[in-house]
C-alpha cells in the first residue's frame, strides 16, 4: 500500500562497496557482463532444445552437442542480449517514462520461465503445419509482452529487434555463413521472428530490473 503512493525513490546513497559499484561506467559494465552471460547461457540451453528435435537422438557426447553450432553463435547472442538489456532502460530514460509495471524479480523470473517455455513448446510440440506454429508462437509472444511489459516502447523495440535479427540471420544463411541443421527450412523461418521478439522482451525485462536494482544501490537485492 505504502509503496504505491510513495514518491519516486531518491537515489540512495549507500555504502562504499555499493557506491563503487554504482559509479556510472562501472555499473554499466557490470550490467553488460551479467546480461552477456545470461544471453550466452540461454542461447546454449535453447540451442540444446532445438538440437533434441532436429539432430541425433543419441548425441555421443553432450558437451559437443552443446557446442555443436558455430562457436560464434553464443557470444553473438550474449552480445545481442547485453545490447538489448542496456537499450531498454536507456530508452525508458530517454522517453522519460520509467517502466513501472511489475518491477520485481519474481516477475522477471516468471518472464524468463515463459520464454523458455515458448522455446520448449516450439521444439517439443508437433504442429500440423508451419502457419499454425507461427500463429501459436506469435500469440504466445504477444501474451508474454502483455503479461510482463505492456509498454508501447517495449513492443516497438521488440518488433524492431525481431525484424532486424531475422533479417540478419536470413542474410547469414543466404550467404552461406551459417546453416540450419534442420532440413526443414520453413520450420525454422516460421518460429524465428517470434522467438526473437520474445527474447527481446525478456532480455529487456531483465535489463530494466538490473538497471533499477543498481539505481537503488542494492545489488544486494539481486
Amino acid at each position: 500500500m505504502a509503496e504505491n503512493d510513495a514518491k519516486p525513490t531518491l537515489p540512495k546513497k549507500s555504502g562504499p562497496y555499493i557506491s563503487s559499484v554504482t559509479s556510472h561506467g562501472m555499473n554499466l559494465v557490470i550490467r553488460g557482463i551479467v546480461l552477456f552471460f545470461i544471453g550466452v547461457f540461454l542461447a546454449l540451453v535453447l540451442n540444446l532444445l532445438q538440437i533434441q528435435r532436429n539432430v541425433t537422438l543419441f548425441p555421443p557426447d553432450v558437451i559437443t552437442s552443446i557446442f555443436s553450432s558455430a562457436w560464434w553463435v553464443p557470444p553473438c547472442c550474449g552480445t545481442a542480449s547485453a545490447v538489448i538489456g542496456l537499450l531498454y532502460p536507456c530508452m525508458d530514460r530517454h522517453l522519460g517514462e520509467p517502466h513501472k509495471f511489475k518491477r520485481e524479480w519474481s516477475s522477471v523470473m516468471r518472464c524468463v520461465a515463459v520464454f523458455v517455455g515458448i522455446n520448449h513448446a516450439s521444439a517439443k510440440v508437433d504442429f500440423a503445419n508451419n502457419i499454425q506454429l507461427s500463429l501459436t508462437l506469435a500469440a504466445l509472444s504477444i501474451g508474454l509482452w502483455w503479461t510482463f511489459d505492456r509498454s508501447r516502447s517495449g513492443f516497438g523495440l521488440g518488433v524492431g529487434i525481431a525484424f532486424l535479427a531475422t533479417l540478419v540471420s536470413q542474410l547469414l544463411v543466404y550467404n552461406g555463413v551459417y546453416q540450419y541443421t534442420s532440413p526443414d527450412f520453413l520450420y525454422v523461418r516460421s518460429w524465428l521472428p517470434c522467438i526473437f521478439f520474445a527474447g527481446g522482451i525478456t532480455m529487456g525485462n531483465i535489463g530494466r530490473q538490473l538497471a533499477m536494482v543498481s539505481v537503488e544501490g542494492g545489488l544486494t537485492a539481486f
Binding site: A2, L49, A113, D126
Partner: protein, 1238 residues
Amino acid sequence: MTLTEKLRERISRAFYSHGLLCASYPIPIILFTGLCILACCYPLLKLPLPGTGPVEFSTPVKDYFPPSPDVVSQQGDPSERPDWYVGAPVAYIQQIFVKATVSPWQKNFLAVDVFRSPLSRVFQLVEEIRNHALRDSSGVRSLEEVCLQVTDLLPGLRKLRNLLPEHGCLLLSPGNFWQNDRERFNADPDIIKTIHQHEPKTLQTSATLKDLLFGLPGKYSGVNLYNRRRVVSYTVTLGLQRYDSRFLSSLRSRLKLLHPSPNCTLREDSIVHVHFKEEIGIAELIPLVTTYIILFAYIYFSTRKIDMVKSKWGLALAAVVTVLSSLLMSVGLCTLFGLTPTLNGGEIFPYLVVVIGLENVLVLTKSVVSTPVDLEVKLRIAQGLSNESWSIMKNMATELGIILIGYFTLVPAIQEFCLFAVVGLVSDFFLQMLFFTTVLSIDIRRMELADLNKRLPAEACLPPAKPASRSQRYERQPAVRPATPHTITLQPSSFRNLRLPKRLRVIYFFARTRLAQRLIMAGTVIWIGILVYTDPAGLRTYLTSQVTEQSPLGEAGLPPMPVPGGVLPAGDPKIDLSVFPSDPIQLSENQTQQREQQAGLETLTEVTWGAEDEEIWRKLSFRHWPSLFSYYNITLAKRYISILPAIPVTLYLNPQEALEVRHPQEANRYHPFLSSTGGKLSAEAQPDQTSSRLHGHRDVTLYKVAALGLASGILLVLLLFCLYRLLCPKNYGQNGLSHSRRRRGDLPCDDYGYSPPETEIVPLVLRGHLMDIECLASDGMLLVSCCLVGQIRVWDAQTGDCLTVIPKPRLRRDSSGIFDYQESWDHSPDGKNGLDDSFESSHQLKRMLSPPQPPLFCDQPDLTSLIDTNFSEQVKVAQSEPRLRAVGGRQKEAGYDFSSLVGKVYEDEEGGCGGRRRSLGDESLSGFDKSSPLPSWGGDFESSVWSLDLQGNLIVAGRSNGKLEVWDAIEGTLRSSNDESQSGITALVFLNNRIVAARLNGSLDFFSLETHTSLNHLQFRAGLSPAVPICLDVGVLGCLCSPLILSSAPRLLTSASRGPQVFRLEDSCCLFTLQGHSGAITAVYIDQTMVLASGGQDGAICLWDVLTGSKVSHMYAHRGDVTSLTCTTSCVISSGLDDVISIWDRSSGIKLYSIQQEMGCGSSLGVISDNLLVTGGQGCVSFWDIGYGDLLQTVYLGKSNESQPARQILVLENAAIVCNFGSELSLVYVPSVLEKLD
C-alpha cells in the same frame, strides 16, 4: 453507476463476507479444504507411477503376425493389447543361448580351461548361423535377407568399431572380441584381459560391451577364474528385420539337431514385446534443470516479499502448498473425467506453476497486512480480501482468457496443457480463497495474541531492576521476534551480509546454512543410492522384476518355478527364487557339487537347464537394448522390440579339445584349477564367502570402490567437521549460557551470535553537573548542557573543557556553591587547570595574552586579582562565587584557547560590549537587557531550564517559568531576556536571528534577535488548544537545520494534537496543518528534501511532502509514543517508548529491521553519517550500519561497573558523540569506526 462499478462493488462485498467467514471458522474450513484436496487427489492413486522402465507384452509364438500400423483396424482383444503395440517392432531379437562345459574335467586342468575351449566353439557356431539358409519352394532365404542391417556406428564410438558389426547383420557374439577370427582367439594369451579391456573402470549404469556381446549379465557367463561350476554360458544375439517364422524354425531345429540339449526346459511359446519409454538423457536434462532453477528462483523471489506476518516461512510454505496441491487437484480432476495426461509431467510442471503463479497469494497477504493493525482480525482479513478482490478477479479473467486463446490453437499438446491450466487455475483460486486465507487469518491472529501477551505498558520507560534488564538483554535475540510483531528483525539476509569481513561472511554462511554438512549428507545419500542401484544383485534387478510383474501380461512370461526337489538343501530359502531370481549359481553349484561327490578324480560336469535360464535377457540391464541400438543411432524410445524365445545350445567338449586350444603361455601363468575335493568342504562350510568370491572380478572391484568411497567419505566428514570446529568455535544457535559474553555480559549481537569487536575508549567525561542533565545543545564547537537544577554549563566540544558555568541564580548566595566550584575544578580534565598550576599560570597567561588583544580585555585587571583570591582563599569567596567562577572559567578558556573564537565573536557583536562591561563591573549579575527590568531572583527559584539552543556563542534557554534568556556562551553573561509570558517554554529553535519558542499553553512565540541582543517579540498565537499537556509539547519543535534551505525558504514546524503545522520562519505564516495522526504529535523531523516525518502518540509515523502538504506514507511503528525520529537520505529511524529503534525504508515505508534497546535508552540514538547509527546502552554506545543492520562495534565508556543508561545522544559535526549518562556527559570520538566506513 456503471456496470463495472456495480460488479466491482458486488465482488468486493462477496469477498468481504467470505473473509469474515474464513476468519471466523478457520479450523472447519481448513479441514473441509483438506478433505476436498484429498478427494480430488484420489483418482491419482489409479495412475501408474511414472518411470522409465520398459513395459512388456507377450503374445504366443503360434500364428504370430506383426501388428498392423493402424490402430483402428486392429482386431482381437483390445483390452489386452497395450497402446504401443502398433506397427512392426524395431527389431526381433533372436538369442541363441549356449552353455558349454568341458567334460569330463580332469584335476590337472587349469582355470582357463574352463572357458577357453567353450569360447572357441563360438566361431564355429556363428559360422553355422551365418551360413544357414532355408530352402523351400519359394527359393533360398539366407540370414542376410531377414536380419537387421546396421550401418555405421555413431562417430563417437570409434574405439568400438572393430568389436561391433558394421554394414551388415546385427549379429553379436563373444567372438566379436576377436573380430570373429578363430586365429586371433588362439593367439590371444589372456582372454580375460581382452574381454575386460572395454569395461569401464568406474561405476556404470548402462550396459557394458561385455554384456552386449555375451548377451547375458557378466556374472552368469562363467568366464572367470573362479568358476566352480565349470559351465560357461553365452549367447549369440541376432537382430532380425522381419519375422520369418519358417526361417527361424528351421534355424532352431537345425541348431537343436547339431547341439542337442536333452534336459532343456526352456519354454518356446511366447514372444515378448518390450516397449521402451522415452528416455531422459543429459542433453534433455539440461533444459529441464534450467526450467526448474528458474522456477525455484521465481518461488524464492516471490515468497521473499511476504512480510509483516508472524511466520514468514509458514506462510511461504502455505503458498507453495496451495500451488502444488492445486496442481495435484487439477491432475486428479482431469483423470476423474477421463483425461489421462499424456504430457510429460516433469517437463510441463514448472510452466504450470509459473502460469498459475504465486502472485495472488502474495497480493492477498500484502493487502491484509496493510490494513490497520488495531482492527479486529476478522475485519482485517475481510477488508484485505475485499480490497484486492477486483484485481484478483481481473487477473484470473485475464489468465483464463489467455488460456482460452491457447486452447483455440488446436494443437493437441497445447490444448491439453491449457485444459490442465484451466482446471489448475480454478482449483488454485478455490484453495486461495479457502485454504490460504484461513491460514493467513490464523497467522495474523497468532500475531495479535503474541502482541497482547507481550505488550508493555505504555509508561514502562522507568528502568527495571538491574537483573531483570540483564536477563531480558541476555536473551535478546530470541525475545525480540515474538515480542514485537513488527520486529521482524533483519529479514533478508542479503541486507546484512555485505558489511562483515569477507572471510567471516563466508564462514557464517557455511555455519548458518550448515552447507558442508548438508552437502556431505546429500553426497552420501546419492553415493549410497548409486551403489544400491548399480549393485547387480540389488535394487535394479528388483526393480526390473517389479516392473515385469507390474506389466499387465508380464506374469505370463514367468513360468512356474520348477523346484528341483530333494536337491536343494533344506536351508535354501525359496523366496530368493521367486523374487530375486538372481541367485542361480548357488543353486546350480549345489547341484554340481552333489554330483561331484559321486564323481571321483575325473569329474563329470553336466550342463543343466533350469528356471534361472528362462528368458535370460530379463536379467540384463533394462538399458541393454536401448544402448545397443543407440550405437547405431536407432532409438527405442516410444518403440518396442520383440524378443523371440531363445534357442538353447549345449556343448560338451572333451578334455582333449580343451588341451588343444590351450595357449602356451597360459600353462605357465595359471596354476592348476583348485581341486574340487579340497575346496568342497570349505565351500560348504562358508557358502556365503564362496558365493561372494564367485561373483568374480567385476563385483570385487565394485565392493572395493564402495568401501573406498565410504572410507573417503567418512574421512571427508571428519575433516570438514574439524575444520568447522576450528573455524567457528562459537556455538551457533545456542544463544544460551555457553555464549562467551564479556564480563558486562550483555553485548548486543546479531542473529549469528556474532558479537562485534568491543573496544574500550576512554571518553572525555564531562563532570560538573550535580543533577541529571536535562537539555543538551551543540553547534559543533561548543556544547551546552543544563541540569535539573538549572545550571548551564558550556563545554568545549573539542577538548571537553568546561568553559563557562552559568549557575542557577538561586545558587548565588548558596554556600554549597563552593562545593560546586570545587567540584568543577577537581574534575577538570586538564591538569593544568588544577589549583596549583592555574594559580601561577593564569598570571602569565594573562600577561602574555593581554597585550595583543587590548580591546577584549580592557577591564580584566581587577578580575585577575579576584581570581587570585579565589584560588587562594576558596572558602571566603562564597558571595561572589558564581560570578567569579564564571569569569574564571572564561579566563581559563582564554588562557589556552587562543581566543580566536572569542575575538571573532567580539568583533561581531561589539554592540554588546557595553552591557558586558557593565555586568562585569557590577557585583551582582546585572547583565540584563535594557528592555527587560531585572527580575527578582525569588521568582526564579522554582524555574528550571526546559529547553536550550545554541548558535554562535549565544545560548538561548527557555525556562519553566516562561522566561527566555540569551546568554553569552563564552563569557557566561546574560545578554537579554524576555519573560512576557508565564507559560513554560518547552521547545526552542534558534536560527539566524530568529528564536521560536513553543510554550506550554500551546502558543508559539517568534522572537527576533537584534544585534544589540535585544529580543523583539513577534508573538504568534498558533491556534492551539491552550491546555496542551506537558508531555505533548516537549520536544516537538523541529526545524530545518540546513542553512542552505533556510536562506531560500525557511519553514518551521510545530505540532499540536491535531497534526503538525508548518510555518514559515520569515513571516510566521502557517502554511499547512497536516491532518492524519490520531493522537498528539510527539516527534517531528524535517530536512532539505522537504520530506517531513512526524511521529505521534499513537505510535504511528507519517511522512509528508512539505511542499504540497500531502501524506506520503503512514507506518505503524511503535507501541506507545514515538519518542524520536530522524531520517537519512534513504531511511527513517524512529524510536519509541517501547525501547525499540526501527529503521524504515524511506521511499516505500517498509520496515527494514529494528533494534531492541535497553530499558531507558530507547530514545538515545544519533545518526553520524548516512550509514552509521549510534545507539546508547547501559554504559556503552553501539554503532550500527544502517544499510545492512549490522552491529559494527560496541564501545564501553569508562570502566565503572555502575554504568548508567545513555539517555540522550548528541552527534557533533566532528564525528564526536556526546552521551548523557545522568549527571555526566561523555564525549567520545569515534575515528576508528568512521575510518572503516568512509
